[in-house]
Symmetry: D2
Subunit: 151 residues, 4 copies
């Protein structure tokens, strides 16, 4: 998403990304295919990381600092063609793991709650320590409330 | 794309849609997978049709008025993660067929030229006559120059 | 997957589906994009349901009996272009919810453990009771071991 | 597709690849989204190249020898969930360009005719000469009839 990529702030100062549902994201049930929710969250995560200076589009391998370890999606309401989805995002660090949670909303309706867990990887796909620059950024992030309690 | 969906005009008054390349649209060559170009053009076509009042998100079957008969893509330069692609669009009618052409650009670089040809379909997937409202809209569209000459 | 769709049995009589990783399923890190794991599991689930007579391709809306409520993926090793992934599947019912677990393997390597939870939906996207035919099928399924403990 | 990847021969000795339409490949019109046809053709092309020893899964960059320059798809009939699509493939060389044509069929019904044009690329995404091994293979391929006449 374009202008949304600028990282507009929600009411509580939360990072928010917007995605309008495309025709090619629907399935024969007439709703958004469930696999796309992980893509919407990736868009939000990349927009956040780019705004915070943690991903550099000139060095795409910098995205490897958010290699996906785990994903968890709870669907509350279906989204349909043309919907404008707002993805609110929060993030915190737990040792070497970086935990994101996302609340996907259409107006005041909650569509889904998502959690993704990440570890930084090197070019060889081996885990790295969390870079200092990322630690600094993560310390300043707020964790408002837990949207999805996961094992 | 959100705000881009509002149909900003290019220099020559051309309908322009913007799409920022997402991580999930790349492949192992480090570039945008070629199948996604048809998706970017669909985004532009839907944004155009929605602006012109020809697609109604409340009635998704209205999108069937642009059933795809033919697509043709010529790739000029690869697009990569994070690129902001501008899709310029022009459209004209040839009898029952609706012809779109698209020029995909990154700044002044041309990335691809695309043509798609459509026919209106009914719910039963049978061809329909072009609706009068669509004819009226199409008569007002300008065809600037032919970007891709196709058989 | 074609012949795999016939539902070959694993060592323990477990339903197994095979998927060969396609070029278009990779991303710029050179590995399978994480959103595709949900698609591989859907392939396995549909192949299972089709074999058990619970999905009828002539009535695609029958697939709505497996509307997705929740997904949970734990990634263990990356998959790459050309890999043949074996998806082992088990399923059980908990009241109105249908729980699937999947183990994705490449040879003896475990790539991912996945859980998806489903409810039957009607055409209006409202939850239905579990159909009797499905209850009968589910009673005969074996649950071998829990691969992913989820909240 | 798995066993299909072995490259069964059609009536005329033509390379044939099979793909069963997945739920996630459909859109809200209840048919296969048009962008997926390019993916089915890529599957066929990779299966062919792998069988002919031109792509080595251990060296994914070998796939760059089939960088996509142009695609052209003509849709004849829609495909739906569960359909088994047979993709017949033929290929010839025209100087530095490699031209593939594909006929997508469901039983005796023709669903689409597709052409893709390729050039070998190096790691730096610059065009290369056609490798000798590829020339040798291409000389032995038969071009039966032209399914799609393109500019």
């Amino acid at each position: 998403m374009l202008d949304s990529g600028k990282g507009s702030k929600g009411l509580k100062g939360m990072f928010t990304h917007r995605h309008q549902v495309q025709f090619y994201e629907t399935d024969l049930m007439g709703i958004v295919h469930h696999s796309n929710y992980l893509r919407f969250c990736e868009e939000a995560r990349v927009a956040w990381a780019q705004e915070r200076g943690l991903i550099d589009y000139q060095r795409p391998e910098s995205a490897a600092h958010f290699a996906v370890l785990e994903t968890h999606v709870r669907h509350l309401r279906p989204a349909i063609f043309g919907d404008v989805i707002e993805v609110e995002l929060q993030v915190r660090r737990e040792g070497v793991r970086i935990q994101f949670q996302y609340l996907l909303k259409r107006g005041s309706d909650r569509l889904a709650a998502v959690e993704t867990v990440h570890v930084p990887l090197g070019k060889d796909l081996k885990p790295l320590r969390v870079p200092e620059a990322m630690k600094d950024v993560l310390e300043k992030e707020q964790w408002i409330e837990t949207w999805l309690s996961s094992s």
